[in-house]
Symmetry: D2
């Protein structure tokens, strides 16, 4: 196949950056060496890192007020795979995609796996959807899906999830991610207890259909689209459901799905402790489930989450094998640019957390030397690991500066010609 | 014209409730009399109360995830006026509608006023819209409207607001309400200072076009659709803009547009003090701008807001003449039912606040007798004023129980036959 | 013993209120009868209701900035029991006290039980304290107690809890409530995972010492006194700890210990579902753990919590037997007045929730008739149940208006003479 | 005078760090040079930077639950000055102290100025206190001070502020900072409007006493110690008060005094726009007014605040001359260590913000190139400016690593011998 982004272009741009990069990479190497750290260890870790791209992420997102489409929007899963291929070609740290059903349904999933493989891509967790009605759908999800008061609507939502499991098997997905918007907008609308029981009963049927080797990721969210109560609103409810269902069920942490001020990194630590951390949906937020680019608003929080992950790895926490996915809404940027930028920021947090001097930190913590412990952690965060990330990208054939390379490549212009512009007014709910 | 709801039906239902109502109204009258309050004073106040219905409120709302349309959705301003007419016929406390441009544009505004008058309706503040792109619109508002970095986009948004002023004049609207979604999703996306200056400059042009007797209502909102910063995000920014523009500019308080935990009633008191309280967009919320039904989640907060308003009236605060509008999104209910229910809850808070013994309260406050002061306020809130509200409705020809009467009337079935169902999948952004 | 409050005084004041009360009670009875409800059922329920008063609650509270003592502050557990006796004498719905160790330690607990019984009081859950250092204490809790990094400090905190269990046995307390302030003020200060493990290990030792029939109530709190992380910060962590420890361990819900906007009533429903609801610390709050008077800021939220409790009773939820305690800080009121007022507001919410038409509610919920379901719930909330509460108090010998009776009795003046004023500046941390 | 910290020790430690520092400083210099930036410009700016230390900050803080004193606590203003002198000697960026009355009252302020000058210290804004009662104080502030319902209490608080102005004149303070805790704990406790009017009237009397050249800094805070309403709770109220009083009155921004999720940097931009930015109280927080160390929890937010300040400087905003102070509570660290660490983190944010390419940023913003604009800002934040800060310190005689040098110096051991340990139990309110 023809490369989506010219390898010559990448090589040429990387060459232009070489002198500066070599100086910075060497300086960082000397600095780390003085701390007893071999920079190559970090490069190796950075090369080993990957995060999944959601297929819905390469399209332009929006709000209830409006959606402002961009140029060259992907029309279907094939366009989406190509866009994800660009991200992987340039960043080399986005080796899987996370599909969304029904939007990514095709007639031949084997062919789809091969199509993805051509871009160097595999499939991560598959996502069901019962928060929207589809054309021709028999029963509406207006009042909920897996937790609807009506048994026939719950059954329809179960059937959809069973179909997703089948598709996931065909695509090689390691897990089914279940997020539902079910909840209420009024006190009294439903019995909070009964709604949870209905949900558990429906989920039992989905869980029973999981093949060996496929996990179920339960994703909680505080609110939206329901605004008074949400059936799986917090990690406590998510954990109760996972415990009810069985060992294949784990709890997914989306960074934007928590109450204001909540200490998310501690939730991560709790789920690690109980052996139920499914993984992450990365993004950033300031107010609610803003779905902003990972690391754009609070990069230190992202680092603190990774600090828990690297500590869990360090402590060899039992059953620790989280999945890493991005879940963002790109409303005002080119989604490919935002996803590349985010993938880099996530890798940055991982690299920084890998630099924490864990032995010294444990000593300071054991001695209740508060400021020393904090400064040890902060010291790792302050290191500019950009040269390590760039080195890891380039050694794998990626770009020194993926966003510049992408802009230079003219990819967006090219697909804008192939993919017809969406006509008419942008959607949005007044 | 034929009544939207049969007057005979209303009379018949009211008659059926008469015995119970008379007993409760009389009991309440005796209770109030023991406190030195004449219940007739309260009935008179309740009769004098009215809140505006937004034309967009009679359609089913949604979220960025989905919109689940209801039966008999209004197709245009004429259907919307009929639906508002039903609300007024049954509640008798919703005598104006607040139009939204461009959706409510017609060729003959004089005819529209007469059409509204047939339902006993007038027009309240007119609302411009520059948070969405319309078909055929020259420049996109993707990156903002009145505060866009591009001068030509700002000019387009100004022109739209000038058109709204003209329509408002034709409809007899007392004010133009300006809410914009302008803001940023990323730190650095725009200069926070420059964006505000651009906004002020554009608003100067709008302000200059206001005719005598027309006010400008500036509506702030903390976030959404922009998720990092919003140019008019709080009442402080709103007040700065109003002060910059001139005396016709005032600050509108939407109950759902504030940061978590904020004391909204104190903001009302501040705006009363400075003579810049435009009025309200009523709704309720638990998390963000949830746009839930007024009084559905925190009815005591609604009462506390009205306590400020009645106190301002009592103290004869200078320039105090707020406008009252509902602004809600009805996602899972019949909008007409929700609006009637909300109009009643708002009237309830007004009636309860009218029952506060202000002389006793002032004495307790002056003596720093904290618990006594609180209990005097709470005592008014605990009174079930339903009989007063029902009496006021019935004396004006409205229904004892508007929602039961509406359901009995079959109005929704009737319009569902006339108004074609929206075909295909519900909209929504994934 | 001499009555703390003259029974003649109470009778005389109740007599003065009789005509008005009889009219209102009868009117309410007729109203309820029309709904098919016998008011006597409600009076019986109100008589059966009781909430525990914390011994620390009868002293004036404060903030880190200052404490402003009141007149006649209780000096020791004996004064505190007398003050609680006044609350019970007037309200007749506060039949137990919840002691706090070390402050309430005495040499003879049997005598203390008899002393309490003279006031009609028994003992509810006993509370340990390891968030403060006491004079002569060997090791400081500056860096934590049960979750301290140092094993000897954890052991000291365990020993204190074991002592509390012994005292609880002597007093007839049904449970030990464990709340600790342990946490961190800096990212990195401690390992979030290890801190939890240390906590669990220490709690195992406490749990092992529980006698048959004594439960352990684990109380979570989001933050304060630790401001970056708290080891038991949310109900999920609390539940994990309870599950780890065993069936005697349950989760206590303090209404002020949650993240902003959290739906507390749903947490109650979850803990009911999993059979781990210990009970409540009632109070109200607007911002954080404000410890304001129950029902003072958001009375509808209090009602919604009780709606869950009455529903759980109605559904005969397995193992459902929660404890009810007040936990407030009275900084600007007479604590006895605030506690009486709060006890009444809590009983009010219980009575209102008892009035919900559960059959009609279940029907509306089953039919997804959202607005009808909400209105059924709200209808119960709108009923002014004050006459029922007053009737229940008076039938038991309590006061029609406990706060007026208390003020008339001169109790505070009397004890102010017996209890010396605290000299010097108020404490507080700058 | 004898140096508080041996200059030889500092020099010796700096020498030991020289090789590593020189390498890192040179590498950073080359990197910046490639971006067209002369590192010396940054060193010069870092040398020019200074932040004021609050005298109350060098003592150990606490919470309402407990205070755990440290060793060698300062006993009076003279000890406090010495501790501040240590901070300045090692960091060279803390050249003023901010005194607090009545705690820092002395008989001879001229002598105090000379004493401070010996440590290289001057005096910044003076702080009044009316949130606590002092021994011998005639009227209590239990129900408020400048906004108390009682005129004589307000007058007493005015008199205290007038005294502070006199002391400030004697010390050369450029401003009086007024923060009051006045507010309410119950809806209805006071009239929200009247309380504000009482406050304004009292502040008029204080304002009138300001000499030429002395400003008034009004500090708002959302809540605590009052938990329902606070009279100056937000920047809008603060601005209204400042506008009412006159041009010498400005609005102070404490980073921890805002509602959850609020965009503080935009508030800074607004106050710059209106010419009323007094300056800052720096600290960090996760939940409320946590008073944690600046930059400890959200360092990117601190950077974004400084981005506004550097932009204002760049745009030559009219009347822009903010004051910079730290206001933190050091509960679990050595206050001197925390203050040095914080002073460095604040200087770091200033240096990073100084590295933003403002011309490129303005271009990207003008073109609505969202991602490019964000990346330009973020690029500056990612630079590890530690070598610049260290260079600036060392060139002025300060320490390469102030905290290590402090620990090596044995200062705390020395003063712990001179300053008697606080006996008995730690204070705290249960």
């Amino acid at each position: 196949m023809t490369a989506l982004i010219s390898e010559d272009l990448i090589a040429s741009l990387n060459h232009a950056a070489k002198v500066a990069h070599d100086d910075e990479f060497a300086a960082l190497g000397r600095k780390l060496a003085r701390q007893g750290v071999d920079v190559e260890t970090l490069v190796t870790r950075a090369i080993g890192w990957s995060v999944a791209i959601p297929t819905w992420g390469v399209g332009t997102g929006g709000t209830r007020f409006a959606r402002f489409p961009g140029r060259g929007e992907p029309r279907h899963i094939h366009d989406k795979l190509a866009d994800c291929g660009v991200i992987q070609a340039l960043t080399r740290g986005a080796r899987t995609v996370s599909p969304h059903i029904p939007w990514d349904k095709v007639s031949d999933y084997n062919a789809l796996r091969q199509e993805a493989a051509q871009y160097g891509l595999g499939f991560d967790a598959i996502n069901s959807n019962s928060f929207q009605d589809q054309a021709g759908q028999k029963l509406s999800y207006k009042f909920g899906s897996l937790a609807n008061a009506a048994a026939d609507t719950r059954a329809q939502a179960v059937a959809h999830n069973l179909e997703c499991i089948e598709i996931g098997k065909a695509l090689g997905s390691p897990a089914l991610t279940v997020w539902i918007g079910d909840g209420t907008n009024f006190p009294g609308q439903q019995s909070l207890g009964l709604m949870f029981e209905n949900y558990l009963q429906a989920m039992e049927a989905v869980y029973a259909a999981l093949p060996d080797g496929m996990q179920m990721f339960i994703e909680h969210k505080m609110y939206e689209p329901a605004f008074y109560s949400t059936v799986i609103s917090d990690w406590g409810s998510s954990l109760m459901a996972a415990q009810h269902l069985g060992p294949k069920a784990k709890c997914l942490v989306d960074l934007g799905h928590h109450a204001p001020n909540v200490n998310i990194e501690q939730i991560v630590a709790r789920l690690v402790h109980v052996g139920r951390l499914a993984g992450f949906h990365f993004n950033d937020s300031k107010y609610g489930d803003d779905d902003l680019d990972a690391g754009a608003v609070d990069p230190f929080r992202l680092f603190l989450v990774f600090n828990e992950l690297v500590e869990a790895e360090h402590r060899k926490a039992k059953g620790f094998a989280p999945s890493y996915m991005i879940d963002q809404s790109h409303n005002v940027t080119d989604p490919i640019e935002s996803l590349m930028s985010s993938a880099i920021e996530i890798a940055r947090a991982y690299a920084q957390a890998s630099l924490v001097d864990r032995a010294a930190l444990a000593d300071a913590q054991g001695a209740n030397d508060v400021l020393a412990a904090h400064r040890i952690l902060k010291a790792a965060y302050l290191i500019d690991v950009s040269p390590i990330l760039a080195e890891a990208r380039m050694r794998q054939g990626g770009a020194f500066d993926p966003i510049s390379a992408y802009r230079t490549s003219g990819y967006r212009d090219r697909v804008a010609k192939e993919r017809p512009e969406v006509k008419g007014a942008s959607s949005g709910i007044v």
